[in-house]
């Protein structure tokens, strides 16, 4: 297994492991995040390694805070790293835009892990545009080796310019694995800094902000010069046709296309315009290969126009390459009339059988199953809108639950619930996880109270940030890196802001939850139900899951299938007419026993 503090050598590293190692090689002393896939593993690794590596690391309550704490560190002379998934940068966009005006004193890198093809995301936004919006430099690695090596370069660029830098990766970089050669660990960067006050730069009142923008534009001119000379932008191979590419797309070009000259861009904002113009001039044609939006292509077209270069640019604007889906070697076949592409293999014909699907689903014994089953029963025929949020509980969209009607973003369900309550006659029920509640749930709850929205908020408190790999959150307290903190009590927070109806329930006791949910639905005003039960996957990881198993008494069972229809636990198996328990999956939570009308299921120790 990976040893990210080993002195040297070659290891088979996941992109995110390589990035973590890269932080040590770049002398980063301060890191912060809110977990989000495909960046999540970096946080788990830093939880494990940061203290030994001589780095302060925290899970902040959201990405905005993560960028703010890292900005303070870098403004005080400490190299810092804030990282998140692409949509997390939307949350952190507010500090980012003005941080560029302030600038930083030590290197600061913000990693945005984008997710083309939305493997684990709600959208596929192309965050490269944040670099042009905020006016900050951007670096894009193509593979795990570069993901590690480019960090050192990124910090040098950030410090030369006094600006935060956007480090843009994608799923196929973060979750690619490759043999990676380690470099030396940097040990001479300061652990503590001192904040030298400088109002004109760090206090962006209008009178100062306008001047800071002038300074920022000057710095970006300097950045353009750095980009022209940067080894991260290099030319490979020879041919009449030039290919301009960045990120993982480079790997597909390199593997599948031959006989071309490639301009491989790693420093992608600002672009090396002179280098690009020189590369294009005299070519028979140019192909721009990049995933998602025509970020490079549009600038290449402008550079052609401004330099009087007349050459056809193949890419997304002329329909040669798609804007939808992530790229793969298959995508390169779309270039076969323009350049030499290795012949595509002939795949076996797909099956014509209708195969049962295998979507991801809530785990056996997942407490969300209990509170969903109870809510459905309490709601009955009442017209409702189930607002959901970002976490494992989005899986409630599937049958038999159907407890997710509206999902947009972190905290978005809680906010939207108030809108549905006002704009419709449907009852609005918002589900939100514990980590998501601390991330973006407190504010909409406050707003609902303030505006007297008639909503029910169900906080699914499974004592962890489950979906991204069980990171701690304010509700669990922190116990790593030499820092121990108490948990922030959700019930106290909710009561503290003045919610009139607050109940905490055990989701494994489904029938009791039904009663509480009925009261909550009937309550006039803002009602909060806290469904509190630890994630069994976490308990398994921590080896604290009690050994119990459910057992169906076939003599008492009347084959009504209430258990299957309401809890639908994967540990319940229907064999012919009988319901049986798969002991390899069952954790003995007893939800099925709780809803069985004949009490034919018992939990055995």
């Amino acid at each position: 297994m990976a040893d990210l503090l080993s002195e040297s050598g070659k290891q088979l590293l996941l992109g995110n492991e390589a990035i973590t190692r890269g932080l040590f090689e770049a002398g980063v002393r301060f890191a912060s995040t809110y977990p989000g896939t495909p960046s999540s593993e970096v946080g788990n690794l830093l939880e494990e390694y940061s203290e030994r590596a001589g780095m302060y690391f925290e899970f902040s309550s959201n990405e905005k805070t993560a960028v703010e704490v890292a900005a303070a560190a870098a403004s005080s002379g400490v190299r810092s790293f804030a990282f998140m998934k692409h949509v997390g940068l939307n949350v952190a966009a507010d500090p980012l835009m003005t941080l560029a005006y302030s600038g930083v004193r030590a290197g600061m890198v913000i990693m945005s892990a984008d997710d083309p093809s939305a493997h684990s995301s709600q959208n596929e936004q192309d965050n490269r545009y944040y670099s042009t919006l905020a006016l900050i430099p951007m670096v894009e690695p193509s593979d795990p080796q570069e993901a590690k090596d480019f960090l050192r370069e990124a910090y040098a660029i950030s410090e030369k310019l006094g600006l935060p830098l956007l480090y843009r990766t994608t799923t196929r970089v973060n979750h690619a694995r490759a043999d990676v050669v380690l470099g030396s660990i940097m040990t001479d960067t300061p652990l503590k800094g001192h904040f030298e006050k400088d109002d004109r730069h760090f206090v962006n009142i209008p009178a100062f902000a306008v001047h800071n923008r002038v300074r920022l534009l000057e710095r970006m001119k300097q950045a353009a010069e750095l980009s022209e000379a940067s080894p991260l932008n290099r030319i490979e191979g020879e041919g009449d046709i030039g290919v301009i590419t960045s990120g993982v797309s480079y790997c597909y070009v390199k593997e599948c296309v031959s006989g071309v000259s490639i301009l491989k861009l790693g420093f992608t904002n600002p672009l090396p315009e002179k280098k690009i113009a020189d590369f294009i001039r005299g070519r028979k044609a140019v192909v721009v290969v990049e995933e998602l939006e025509p970020f490079l292509e549009d600038q290449v077209l402008r550079i052609c126009a401004q330099n009087g270069i007349s050459v056809h640019v193949y890419g997304k604007r002329d329909g040669t390459l798609p804007r939808e889906w992530e790229f793969s070697p298959d995508t390169m076949q779309r270039l076969k009339d323009i350049v030499t592409v290795y012949p595509a293999p002939v795949p076996m014909k797909g099956t014509e059988l209708t195969l049962p699907g295998r979507p991801p689903s809530l785990c056996a014994g997942c407490p969300h199953r209990g509170i969903y089953a109870a809510t459905k029963r309490a709601v009955g025929k009442t017209p409702v809108v189930y607002c959901s949020d970002i976490g494992c509980y989005t899986l409630g969209v599937q049958p038999p639950f159907g407890t997710a009607d509206f999902i947009i973003c972190m905290g978005g369900g809680a906010g939207a619930a108030g809108g549905f309550a006002q704009a419709t006659d449907q009852k609005a029920i918002a589900f939100i996880g514990d980590s998501t509640f601390f991330h973006a749930g407190v504010q909409p709850l406050t707003s609902a109270l303030f505006n007297r929205h008639n909503i029910v908020m169900v906080i699914l408190d499974n004592r962890t940030t489950a979906m991204t790999g069980h990171q701690p959150n304010p509700g669990t307290g922190r116990h790593f890196g030499g820092i121990d903190t108490d948990s922030v009590d959700i019930e106290s927070v909710v009561k503290g802001i003045g919610v009139g109806f607050v109940r905490t329930v055990d989701p494994y006791d489904v029938l009791s939850c039904v009663k509480v949910m009925r009261e909550a639905i009937e309550y006039d005003g803002v009602a909060v139900v806290i469904s509190k039960c630890p994630c069994p996957l976490l308990l398994k990881k921590e080896r604290t899951l009690a050994k119990k198993v459910c057992y169906v008494d076939q003599d008492k069972c009347v084959r009504c299938y209430t258990c299957l229809r309401t809890i639908a636990c994967p540990a319940l198996i229907k064999k012919d007419e009988r319901v049986e328990v798969d002991p390899s999956q069952c954790i003995g939570c007893g939800m099925c026993a709780n809803v069985c009308p004949k009490k034919s299921i018992e939990v055995r120790q």
Partner: protein, 198 residues
């Protein structure tokens, strides 16, 4: 030389572990290695795919559709679902022991017959090798060793470029020390099962 393996199965079957073992062995054999893994939501009992490519000069972490030299199928239905990853020339190692999806287990859907699934592949490809990995693992001691059976089996596949000793060595370094005997036995039984096949 370039060789690519597509490992398909269900979250929890040890697909990621198997790809790590194969990848580490490939690196130790002196090859460049490129892999791509599915993390996050897909691990909640869903279909899982892991791509491994190694050789003298590999760059891409993904393989072209149809381009696999070997499909390592941890689960019969998932193997059939992923057939298009390979061509008629692809070697297919297929575990015949099923993992039922939630909907099937709950009685709302039916799992196709194993012979039907097998026939789907055999009608398209003459290089199919089957193994009953869970069955063999149980004989070795425990069902969880099914992935060790699969790794042993792959070592015996015709044309597979990584050696038996190397794979076993890496496997035993990767699994917890207390399960060394179990995994060692399961690996050998997997290897034998495929050797007999030829």
């Amino acid at each position: 030389m370039k060789y690519s393996v597509q490992i398909v199965g269900v979250g929890g079957q040890g697909v990621l572990l198997a790809s790590m073992v194969l990848g580490t062995a490939a690196m130790r054999a002196g090859y460049k290695v490129r892999m791509s893994e599915v993390h996050g939501m897909a691990q909640r009992g869903g279909s899982v795919l892991s791509t491994l490519r190694f050789g003298d000069d590999v760059v891409s972490p993904l393989e072209a559709t149809g381009g696999a030299d070997l499909i390592m199928g941890f689960e019969p239905m998932e193997t059939v679902r992923s057939m298009k990853l390979g061509s008629r020339d692809t070697a297919v190692l297929m575990n015949l022991d099923p993992v039922y999806p939630g909907n099937v287990a709950a009685g709302f859907d039916t799992y196709p017959g194993i012979d039907v699934l097998l026939n789907e592949i055999k009608s398209r490809n003459d290089h199919v090798v089957t193994v009953e990995a869970t069955e063999i693992a149980l004989k070795a001691g425990k069902a969880v060793a099914a992935n060790a059976v699969m790794i042993g089996a792959v070592a015996a596949m015709k044309g597979f470029p990584l050696g038996r000793d190397l794979l076993k060595e890496v496997l035993l370094e990767t699994v917890p020390p207390k399960s060394t005997d179990l995994n060692s036995k399961a690996f050998d039984m997997g290897y034998e099962a495929v050797s007999k096949h030829d």
